[in-house]
Symmetry: C2
Subunit: 344 residues, 2 copies
DNA sequence: ATGAAAGCGCTAACAC
DNA sequence: GTGTTAGCGCTTTCAT
């Protein structure tokens, strides 16, 4: 089935068929209908490769994830569904526009980034690329894409520069979680930050700090940083509890670290939420199954990716001018969240 | 960067470069080296679209999943990592061969299957397709692929016919799980089967039946069927417990149903594993977090998909002759598994 | 062992 | 509004 056969069938030129396919101008409605009828009857679908070849779009959006972390997540089977949520938002929205989403894993820290990504770009020639942390702020990557003139979205990035910046309300989410704890009577609220190479780590800290400050509370000794791993959460949890006898709540910057903090607390005989409340970030599936289940800031990954795809396709290469797009996260309350213990 | 520039740079014809790229014959080692040097230096990577256009392979393997079920899993965020495991096995193995994996969701039960899948095939022109249950045994789909001459793998399917059949040791796994329970002293072992439209449902039943028979045990009243949903597991669990006072173990054909059976048992005051042992199928992430964690047959999805990709690429369109490929599943023992209660 | 020519299916640019 | 022409980057013949 090629465009030629459709043209013959409809008794028109290739070009007219092409115009119909691409919703081009200068086709009489009547003609359009006739051609469309042939297309439908013959079950014709244009070849992506041929469309790409003739200089038009490739109809492919490429989503890029951190290779090492993603593979580790898959192998460990901890239920992290980041990729699934990306696919949910990305594939469906791509499909809506007649695009396809492809997923690619790219190493961050090695020096081959350019070669690795460059090769993928050359092979696939995607119409748009979606970068996720920590790639979103990798200069090598953003520069490569800018240079090659590939529109891209940066999830978890706010900087000016090229590419569409999108965030998931990190600062507000942290602020809101903190405010909720304060509302429940908590005064000493510890915070386990993510690693510094993720900008969102510091945004979350900012939100927490702001809420504490607004409530007239001090943050001294209440901040620890981890690297998103369970073990770093154990370490941070211990440090916070060691240092603060009066600690009554902890906000962790992801689920693994917060689960670790939960384990530390329970090891020390603290009851959650009676003695200690916990709020996590991410809301991956497993937090519903801890004892008690963890309250968590839900990251709207699917929607963010969906918005990114929409923008990428709508922009068609024109630069994005509207500043950072923020898709708000929300707090899912669960049993790990309770009123502050009486100041006995 | 096109093949032309490489040819000029190396001072050879386009053809020679093409031969080097494709490991073709009739190139002197010396020439090959020279061209490869140019390729490396210029960072040339052939365009997938152009390769496809000129009649050769598309270097794309398409993995097809059930649309409704997959989207439901993603939305519900129950931690089902089937797609992730497919990607783990599929993407990495594709990459090893210079291929890409694309994921596509296809509706099973509607009559548009042919149009829907046909359109995808026409657009993408994949070099191979991987079918997962229940698509693996959908005649409309297999016939379409056969007709279009697209090599495909059928996961969870044994029939003769076109396509490479692959299974995950369903019968043996069920048999082994049953034998393990018998070894632990269990005599009355209930089985919750999956829905009939999945062949693997009956294979698993067969394995259980065979093990029971070999041990001289009867199966009467011990079989219930669900549809893989939690609620169907609740129903089946109740029926089994209602009917069999002496029931001491249940094997469920997937995690959701087995978790439901666990809840039913606990609702009735049964302690697991003291009063009732449970073994599940799938071993998705959440079974580690139930109380107690569920012993489960681990489905080697990643490896199975990896094998499928390998075969698909190796065969290059020649028919597969070696019969069903079986990738063995294994039992992961967890706290839901214990000795049978004393026949007090 | 290498090169030249033809064409894959489509769209852009131009003609009418 | 519609048709014609050229060419995208590559691999396939086929010549040499």
């Amino acid at each position: 089935m090629t465009i030629r056969e459709v043209a013959e069938d409809a008794g028109v030129s290739l070009q007219t068929v092409s115009r119909v396919i691409n919703d081009g101008p200068n086709v009489r409605p009547q003609m359009r209908e006739k051609v469309q009828a042939s297309i439908d009857r013959l079950g014709y679908v244009p070849s992506l490769a041929a469309q790409r070849m003739s200089g038009s779009r490739s109809y492919i959006i490429l989503a890029i994830n951190d290779r090492e972390r993603t593979i580790a997540d898959w192998r460990e089977r901890q239920g992290n569904d980041w990729v699934d949520q990306m696919l949910l938002g990305g594939m469906l929205t791509c499909a809506k526009h007649g695009y396809r989403m492809m997923v690619e894993l790219v190493d961050t820290h090695i020096d081959h980034v350019e070669r690795e990504l460059g090769a993928t770009i050359s092979a696939l020639q995607p119409d748009g690329v979606i970068l996720t942390p920590p790639h979103s702020e990798n200069r090598q990557i953003t520069q490569l894409l800018e240079l090659r003139n590939i529109p891209f979205a940066r999830i978890g990035s706010k900087g000016e520069g090229a590419g569409i910046p999108l965030t998931m309300g990190d600062e507000n989410a942290a602020r809101f979680a903190t405010e909720r704890l304060i509302e429940l009577g908590h005064r000493r609220i510890g915070f386990i930050a993510g690693p510094a190479q993720y900008s969102l780590s510091s945004w979350r800290v900012d939100g927490w700090r702001a809420a504490m400050r607004d409530a007239g509370l001090r943050c001294d000794g209440l901040l620890e940083a981890g690297d998103f791993s369970y073990s770093s959460g154990t370490h941070a949890g211990r440090a916070l509890l060691d240092r603060n006898e009066d600690l009554s709540a902890i906000i962790g910057s992801n689920d693994q670290m917060t689960l670790a903090a939960l384990a530390v607390a329970q090891d020390r005989g603290l009851r959650v939420p009676r003695d200690l409340s916990l709020i996590s970030f991410d809301n991956t599936p497993i937090v519903r199954f801890s004892q008690p289940p963890l309250a968590a800031i839900d990251q709207p990954i699917a929607e963010t990716v969906s918005v990114a795809v929409d923008r990428l396709i709508a922009l068609k290469g024109q630069p994005h001018e509207d500043g950072t797009i923020d898709v708000a996260a929300s707090l899912v309350e669960r049993a790990s969240l309770g009123p502050a213990p009486d100041p006995a």
